[in-house]
Amino acid sequence: MNSTDRDAVIKVEHLSKRFRIPLDHSSTLKHRMTHWRSASRHRVLEALRDVSFEVPAGQFIGIIGHNGSGKSTLLKILARIYRPDAGRVAIEGKVSPFLELGVGFNPELTARENIFLSGAILGLGRVELHRLFEEIIGFADLEQFVDHKLKNFSSGMEVRLAFSLAIQAHAEILMMDEVLAVGDASFQAKCFDIFARYKREGRTVVLVTHELSSVNKYCDRALLLDHGRLTGDGPAADVTAQYRRAIGLSEEGTRLSEEVERWGSRDVVLTGARMLDERGVEDCNPPTGGFTRVELGYQIQNDSVADFVCVIWLVRDDGQVLAEARLPVSQYAQVGSSQRGASGTIRYDIPEIPLLDGGYSVNIELQGRRDGATYDHLNHAVRFHVVDKGGRGGLIDPGGVWSVVPTEQPVVGWPDQFAATQQ
């Protein structure tokens, strides 16, 4: 393994790839014979246009971009599955041929047979597979199902098997396409452990994913593709921020994206909302444990409004509500009994935000204090993205404190029901 020299292991120069997509699907000879003279009608899709970059050994690189931006095409050319139309690709080192998990799995074969078949595709020898067999099955936690056909497995079991096999590949360069899209939270946590291990071992990893948080967490560098062009190349955090700006995931929190849902009587309206860091600078990428302030403006439109309450929800991108915060009673007076046209600012400070890596947003509602009528409700008023530099698994940082106290005898024992299992 040549982790010491930092020479480029992947060199891409002026790479271009076009796809000719036939407009009339002519996969019969008859069509070919009767239309052989007329130029076949097709649309040309420029999947990649003049892309150049180099990847040094041991770098963890992420490729991001919207659907159809060419990122999967690029990965497939690097993996030698597609041929480029123009340009040069030079790769130095053993490449893992896997772009996805479980390639080559056959539902009619047993777990054991699939390990040997899929393992052969991965480049593992028969002797090696025999040696690793117990470990693979053990890691996937499938000891009892070794000789069951794969079609009787749940999708979770299949993914576990695929994953524990894939991590045995000893390639120097790994290419992965959306591996994080499958599996539940605990599986993703396993993936991250493996990524961390690859990083320690100095392997080169090319990762195509939609999960910007994983790119931020694991990649040293990211490439941004837009309609086949390389529009961003730099430190992962910068490029993901550029991408978020480009697709309208607000960096300036006040901008309302298309997905915003808003309703209410508008007796009081929200005039704006934003997120600030401790210096009072707008920042929608707070670090875990950092200070964050949600700030919103209101204006009263109707004299009949006596006083109102402000409610803020912190929502994860998958829709899970993480927290609900209400303006406390002690502060009603400040917003109540105001005249029409009166306005103000409400602040909600989070001294140490406990959230880990991920995309979140703030929902805000202004409601009547007595009847609970909705004056103005806004979903995703601010979108923000927490960046955890520690790369930890899980959802929150509980802020726990560790300590170790040596004693001569064990002081902490088991309750009686566990005592037997201790021996």
Partner: protein, 315 residues
């Protein structure tokens, strides 16, 4: 298409040790794919692998009943039964091998779109899994022949291996050609079905070359003529050029009995004295079946190589 395009694997992959490693990997992969396909072929059936034995046996029973019991056609050669069985086993291999290998690329679309290895491995693996079945069947035919004492073993048996290699290379050449075209033109599947019907009769599965010559001779004898008119001879000459006919005839000769005509003898007319036939003295046709195999393999491999690079995009 790709004029100035290039994907290089420089450095470690160019080292001889790594290249050997890669070669070993591909060989191992081919074998694993062949074994799994062999297992998969008979999955979901009660009799499983026995179907590969049962199928030629049933075809044999039907053919034998019609030809020997019903019409009393025995083609005049010794041990007709076992020769018929051998012909059917060889034919079954060729038919199944080409039919299943033709689908090798199209039916493995997921594999081709997701991972890289030389695409020909898929076709070779599919043809090898047919070859396993064939070799087992061949051993069974041999055992039956020994039990029935319908065999006359001699040193001729050493020719069996080169003949089997020739037959396999022919099937592989056809499979490479068909599988490459099948990706874009499913028509070749239907076309091949029809062609196989023609080839079945043109390959002497149910009769030997001697029998064809005899029949032609008899027809002419009734017509009071001593000689086969030239417009009949071309059929025989064409059959002599057919490499499947040649391998079936030669395998019968090498494996079973010296009475089965050796292609060479037929072509050079040495059998004439024995059977009092019109001599088919065309020694220049002798290398044609071998050249045909070489040509088909070359065309198949070249067609495959030219189209393989775009398989992932066309599937």
């Amino acid at each position: 298409m790709s004029t100035n395009a290039d994907v290089q694997l420089a450095g470690p992959d160019a080292r001889p040790a790594t290249r050997l490693d890669t070669l070993r990997h591909y060989r191992h992969l081919t074998l694993e794919l062949a074994i799994s396909q062999f297992k998969l072929r008979y999955t979901q059936s009660v009799l499983g692998y026995f179907w590969s034995l049962l199928k030629p046996a049933m075809v044999f029973a039907i053919t034998y009943f019609i030809f020997v019991d019903l019409f009393d056609i025995k083609d005049g050669t010794h041990f007709y039964g076992i020769q018929l069985l051998l012909g059917i086993v060889i034919w079954t291999f060729f038919a199944e091998c080409t039919a299943s290998s033709m689908q090798a690329i199209a039916s493995n679309a997921a594999l081709i779109r997701k991972t890289y290895f030389p695409r020909s491995i898929l076709v070779i693996a599919a043809s090898m899994s047919s070859l396993f079945t064939f070799l087992i069947n061949l051993v069974i035919v041999f055992v039956i022949a020994v039990v029935l004492r319908q065999i006359d073993v001699s040193l001729r048996i050493v020719v069996v291996l080169p003949l089997l290699i020739e037959l396999y290379l022919l099937a592989l050449g056809v499979a490479l050609f068909l599988s490459a075209l099948f990706v874009q033109y499913h028509d070749v599947g239907h076309l091949w079905d029809v062609l196989m019907q023609l080839l079945f009769y043109g390959s002497g599965v149910m009769f030997s070359l001697t029998y064809v010559l005899q029949r032609l001779h008899l027809v002419e004898a009734v017509g009071q003529t001593k000689y086969i008119p030239p417009h009949y001879i071309w059929i025989v000459e064409l059959m002599v050029c057919n490499p499947i006919m040649q391998t079936i005839e030669d395998l019968r000769h090498a494996l079973l009995t010296p009475q089965a005509p050796w292609t060479e003898l037929v072509v050079t007319g040495h059998l004439v004295a024995v059977h009092q036939l019109h001599p088919l003295n065309t020694p220049w046709l002798l290398p044609v079946p071998f050249l045909a195999v070489a040509l088909i393999l070359t065309i198949g491999a070249l067609t495959f190589r030219a189209r393989a690079r775009s398989f992932a995009e066309n599937l």
